[in-house]
Amino acid sequence: MLIECTDISKQFSRRSPRVLDEVNIAVDHNEAVAIVGESGAGKSTLGRILLQLETATSGSYRFEGREVSSLRGSAYREWRPKVQAVMQNPRASLNPRQPIWVSITEPLEALRRMGAQQRKRAAGDLLERVGLPAGILQRYPGQLSGGQRQRVAIARGLSSDPKVLVLDEPLSALDVSARAQIIELLAQVHRDLQLSYVFITHDLTTVTELCSRLYVLQRGRLVEEMTTEQMLAGPEHEYTKKLLSSVLTLDSPSIRGVA
């Protein structure tokens, strides 16, 4: 297993309720797994723990068999680039005053020691991987469309050659046509680079498009865990059933007359 979380709990203060309550998840090499839930489910907190932007109050988080919270010094610095993030709003995660090439090469220390020319070349290669022309290297985030910015955020996430991308609602701020293109890109990157995805989303259509397995969180608790096929065939837990029947797609029945 690449990632193993055992009995992860999170409380922001001693008196507040548990945001995560003894959650267990595992992610294998080259696997795309979804963490599904509505607002308040704790899914983003779980993602932030995987990225170590938060620490769990209790429980174990192992990466390639090693307890992440115990990593120090060079061991931590070695682990850090292996798990990278792509967030919902690329506008917020890219520095608006920094040209694209700086943002893209920032996460990697090795790249930071390089000269500007080398960094630009590396950034150009990354842009090519995410389907953007090298011509935009000198541009600023504000000069790009939402879809282009999300491609830049993905390029940045890939720059340290990670083993896992934690993607927190990376599609929900996009128009549908841009969304379809980013899904295609993420599927292609997953095929080509053989990395793992932890896909945090409220949207079950994203799960069926990109992930082979999913965990369903409700108010901090894991209520169901299944493959995407099992979910489509019919989940067991009442909450998952409700989530699935609430999705409105072009294939859903009309709500006219049922109300």
Partner: protein, 313 residues
């Protein structure tokens, strides 16, 4: 009471422009004409920048000062003019209800729900001694308990605040409801509940409805007809079944093909038909007019320069 042969709301050749920094004006809505018929749900779908919200703002006289609108709005045949401020403020709320995407910021955060509902009730000329009972009745219709009257918007969830916004509309009992992305900010299960609620109330109160959304799935679940907007233009108008199953404009075809589904379909690549309104086209030509109309039948209309090459597959 409601005449079936004239539209509840008629929007004719609605255009909106805004000034750019250089002083030129840029058109964000170009001669869009749409009718809402009695007891119908008209869906308006489009992505960001399509002009779908501008249509509402222009029709209700809610454009910011720099915006310039032209066109005609008729409510049950009566011409409305944005500059007739008194008439417009009667129309807004009392005759045309509006629900917007973010319920929480559209409510006043420092006033209790009860006082905000009372304001709607007064606007609807409900006598003072009946305001409280009418407010409780309206809350009951949206499945909220009377104790909500004493709460502040910040104490309620997004879904509850959207129900409060709907209750405010119900108090005024308008004949037309415009819902602009009413469920976009809500969780999926809450979205479904609010949609069901809207449908029930629409039938019960005999409202005609314009449902605006970027989400074709949401529109399809409720609309009788769908209008597709793209870059300020109305590009296609037809029955829900026709638009979803037999889209003709290349933009509509893209929209249908890229709509999220639980069972993904293989999307066909977009064909280059030479239409300047195609997605991905770098810019519209500066001297464009409104595209010519291709009418397949009276119930399904496509606007496109390239109509004769046939966008139908």
């Amino acid at each position: 009471m409601t005449r079936q042969d004239i539209p509840l709301l008629e929007m004719r050749k609605m255009s909106v422009s805004f000034p750019t920094q250089s002083g030129e004006r840029i058109e964000v809505l170009s001669e869009v004409s749409l009718n809402i018929w009695p007891s119908e749900v008209l869906g308006v779908v489009g992505e960001s920048g399509s002009g779908k919200s501008m249509l509402t703002f222009a029709s209700l006289g809610l454009l910011p000062k720099t915006g310039r609108a032209s066109g005609e709005v008729r409510l049950r045949g009566e011409a409305l003019h944005a500059q007739h401020k008194r008439r417009m403020s009667q129309v807004r709320g009392r005759e045309i209800g509006l629900i917007v995407q973010e319920p929480t910021p559209s409510l006043n955060p420092v006033r209790r729900i009860g006082s905000q509902l009372a304001e709607s009730a007064r606007h609807a000329r409900i006598p003072a001694d009946q305001i409280k009972s009418a407010s409780i009745r309206a809350l009951d219709e949206v499945n909220l308990p009377a104790e909500v009257l004493g709460r502040y918007p910040g104490e309620l969830s997004g879904g509850m605040n959207q129900r409060v916004a709907i209750a405010m509309v119900l108090l005024q009992n308008p004949g037309v409801l415009i819902a602009d992305e009413p469920t976009t900010a809500l969780d999926v299960t809450t979205q479904y509940e609010v949609m069901q609620l809207l449908e029930g109330l629409r039938v019960q109160h005999e409202m005609g409805m314009m449902l605006i959304s970027h989400d074709l799935g949401v529109i399809k679940a409720m609309a009788d007809r769908i209008a597709v907007m793209y870059r300020g233009h109305l590009v296609e108008l037809g029955t829900t079944e026709d638009i979803v199953s037999r889209p003709r404009h290349p933009y509509t075809q893209t929209l249908v093909a890229s709509a999220p589904r639980l069972h993904p379909i293989e999307a066909a690549p977009l064909q280059d038909s030479g239409c300047p309104l195609l997605p991905g086209d770098p810019q519209l030509s500066d001297d464009h007019d409104h595209p010519p109309t291709l009418e397949r039948d009276r119930r399904h209309v496509v606007w496109c320069w390239d109509a004769h090459h046939g966008h139908a597959r």
